[in-house]
């Protein structure tokens, strides 16, 4: 168990490109302290477990992944560019990058980081601060043009360690990309991950975030997306297998007139606790949002969704819809869902809905009356339930998100 001061002391000295960010992050953390149950955003989190995960030793500079669990990975087709990075974000396989994709040099990185510094302090969540304070390296990539092949970015946690990674993607004007990001947790590990995306005018991004934990692993991920006008951002976040998982997609439509689609699926079993805390803010008129979040909770697990939508005065004619649907499969599991709408603009259409239930008796009966065994019928219904979210995934992600895997051990 640690308090924030102890944890901060265990960090290496701040230096390098991220030195300034680290110092600032550590300062704010020291002020804020650890999250407590009186913080609305952390009220439901298993804070003791969080503290335990924070007390893992920090992954050090020269740690290398000696063996990869590649065997479990699906094959990578030729059209897809697979980029594997180690906990220090060094590409494991320094291949030549495909055309249109570039690694940002330090000058460009500083520029990209500066963009972020101007954002509102309230936007910086505790999850993000943890990353600011601890991440020593940042991987920046820029995308230009429409012909970049789909990218698969694989981030591996280091067993027994706390690793912290930060990735920045910049999509230039009218660029188009399909990105599959896989974050793998293994053994007793904690992965703090910060992903920043900047979509310039007219950029189109189809982004899948696949967080697959195994064993006693923890994920603390923040996704910060800034969209300029006419950009399209489509996000599918899947979380599965984390003892403690937390994903915070935070999207800002800087000028409105952009479109955002969010799909989320989280499946909890055993004693897992997985949460999604999304926030979308419209800073200009005529923004669009379509959000669907699904959760399945089995065994003793706990599934949390918190979805904030902010429509300030300037964001007239916003059209936002949010739907949270949850399946509760066991008597001992728990589901908490909380939409949060803050609306000031008056000429808007905002709707939200939330449901919690179990599988429908009639649907089960229908399948069984056609000779499908009980277990199989349940499986079929669960598959169908997940399909709503999965159908939007970019092509290369389909290999990763094998339903079989997702629904393994869910009963």
């Amino acid at each position: 168990m640690v308090d924030s001061q102890q944890w901060l002391q265990s960090l290496p000295t701040a230096e390098g490109l991220l030195g300034k960010v680290q110092l600032l992050g550590r300062q704010s953390l020291l002020q804020k302290g650890m999250p407590s149950i009186s913080d609305e955003d952390w009220r439901l989190t298993n804070l003791n477990q969080l503290k335990e995960f924070l007390s893992l030793p920090i992954s050090c500079q020269d740690s290398k992944l000696t063996e990869l669990n590649c065997r479990e990975w699906p094959d990578c087709s030729k059209e897809v560019f697979r980029l594997i990075v180690d906990p220090q974000l060094r590409p494991m396989d320094p291949e030549t990058l495909p055309q249109g994709l570039q690694i940002l040099n330090s000058k460009e990185l500083i520029q990209a980081l500066a963009l972020k510094e101007n954002s509102q302090p309230s936007d910086v969540s505790w999850t993000e601060l943890i990353n600011h304070a601890s991440a020593t390296k940042v991987l920046g990539l820029s995308v230009e043009g429409k012909d970049v092949p789909p990218i698969e970015l694989i981030i591996n946690a280091e067993p027994g360690k706390f690793s912290s990674t930060r990735v920045i993607f910049i999509l230039k004007e009218n660029a188009k990309l399909e990105l599959v990001q896989v974050v793998l947790g293994r053994g007793n590990s904690t992965q703090s991950h910060l992903l920043e995306m900047h979509l310039h005018k007219g950029a189109v991004l189809n982004h899948a975030f696949l967080g697959y934990g195994s064993g006693q692993s923890c994920l603390l991920a923040k996704l910060s997306v800034q969209q300029e006008s006419n950009s399209q951002y489509c996000f599918t976040g899947i979380q599965h297998g984390w003892a403690l998982g937390r994903l915070e997609p935070h999207i800002v439509q800087k000028e409105g007139e952009a479109s955002t689609t969010l799909r989320g699926l989280q499946i909890t079993k055993g004693k897992e606790q997985i949460a999604t805390h999304s926030r979308i803010r419209f800073e200009g008129p005529e923004g669009k949002l379509d959000q669907l979040q699904k959760g399945i909770a089995a065994d003793h697990s706990h599934c949390i969704f918190n979805g904030g939508i902010e429509v300030p005065r300037i964001a007239q004619q916003t059209n936002a819809s949010q739907l949270s649907r949850n399946l509760l499969l066991s008597k001992r599991a728990r589901i908490d869902t909380k939409p949060e709408l803050k609306i000031i603009a008056d000429d808007v259409r905002c709707t939200h809905g939330a449901t919690v239930s179990q599988l429908k008796e009639e649907e089960l009966f229908y399948l069984r009356s056609r000779g499908i065994a009980f277990e199989q019928a349940i499986r079929l219904l669960l598959k169908g339930y997940c399909q709503d979210v999965l159908k939007q995934l970019p092509l290369p992600a389909k290999e990763w998100s094998l339903l079989k895997n997702l629904l393994k051990n869910v009963s």
Binding site: D336, E340, V348, R349, T351
Partner: protein
Amino acid sequence: MAENQNTSELNTQKPYKYGFVTDIETEKFSKGLNEDVIKLISRKKQEPDFLLDFRLKSFRQWKKMREPNWADLGYPKIDYQDMIYYAAPKQSDKKASLDEVDPKLLETFDKLGIPLSEQKRLSNVAVDAVFDSVSIATTYKEKLSEYGVVFCSISEAVAEYPELIKKYLGTVVPINDNFFAALNSAVFSDGSFVFIPKGVECPMDLSSYFRINSGDTGQFERTLIIAEEASSVSYLEGCTAPMFDTNTLHAAVVELIALDDASIKYSTVQNWYSGNEEGVGGIYNFVTKRGHCKGKKSKISWSQVETGSAITWKYPSCVLQGEESIGEFYSVALTNNLQKADTGTKMIHIGPKTKSTIVSKGISSGKSNNSYRGLVQMGPKALGAKNYSQCDSMLIGDQASANTYPYIRSQQPQASIEHEASTCKISEDQLFYLQSRGIDFEEAVSMLVSGFCRDVFNQLPMEFAAEADKLLALKLEGSVG
């Protein structure tokens, strides 16, 4: 009828017609709160020892508690020592007949549209009138007692039915429930008590009317309604206060208990003074209301129209314990100018096959802030429980905000929860349609608003529904366009 017309004329001239102060000699305690003040209140009311213990225990609990701030209502810190905890119009004790009551008081209630004197009484509604800290009069008491219904002020109930008070007081809202409930439990001065015996359907609507008169007195009333097996009652609550530049705290506690097959319907039209256009003055309405559906197939229904108060912060709730018990919540909350409202409900499903319905309509105009915050919780034993919630917000003008925070928690797979919500504004098309048919702008707006609130108004007793409709129109006057 003629009088009614007069009042409606008055309506259009004055934004808040209940803002007058009655000049009456009152007995007030000095400012501040400590154990002595509590003992004094208790002695003043000649309370039995158990109640004094209850008060003192609450006070000690309250001192340990911190004022909550999670709702982010942004009101200045309340100085609890700069407030008077007991104020009563001077009269030796409650009069047997209304003729002996100070005519000024009767006049006040007449002016508020609540005539208490025999010949003018509202037909078929029994009224308990509370002025500052004490109950002035309760009408139709004799008729009610024929049916065995007890309807009196809580002080009288303490004297006459101490065993009932002892058994039920603080069982639904425990003293340590929240900061304001603890404060109320320590200093509550008066309020209404209703007891409906087994199998009795209350022959008339019961109603209490709360009036704050002095500007530096907090009002802490306590209402306790007990409906025994297979009984039913409909209870109405109305409130007004004069216009002061200072903020007055109103921290009431309402407890409802429904046993097997009993049903309680609790309706509120809240019209406390809301402060002026710059947000100066007004009532802080921090109320804890909770009903306990204890028995099988019991039912508690809350309907509320919230139009007043500088800040409204309340969540009338239902604890659904009895099998197949039903909880309902129908609410219209309207905010204008700089008003803030954070209101909603909690439906705590404990027993199997419990059902709850939530319909909430929020209307925000001016620079106000209107939030729906609600909790639906399905406990592990709530087999086959069902909830349906609907919250709609209407925005008038682009400076008001409408927030929705529904909390949903389920621990029972065989329970189903449905929640839907929408936000809209008054549609230009609808306005144009009405105006083109010769209905003037303001009237068209109020028609549309009233249509928006229909689901809730339908749940209100007749007299209230009409009043609520008028009230909304009045409150919105001049805020559109």
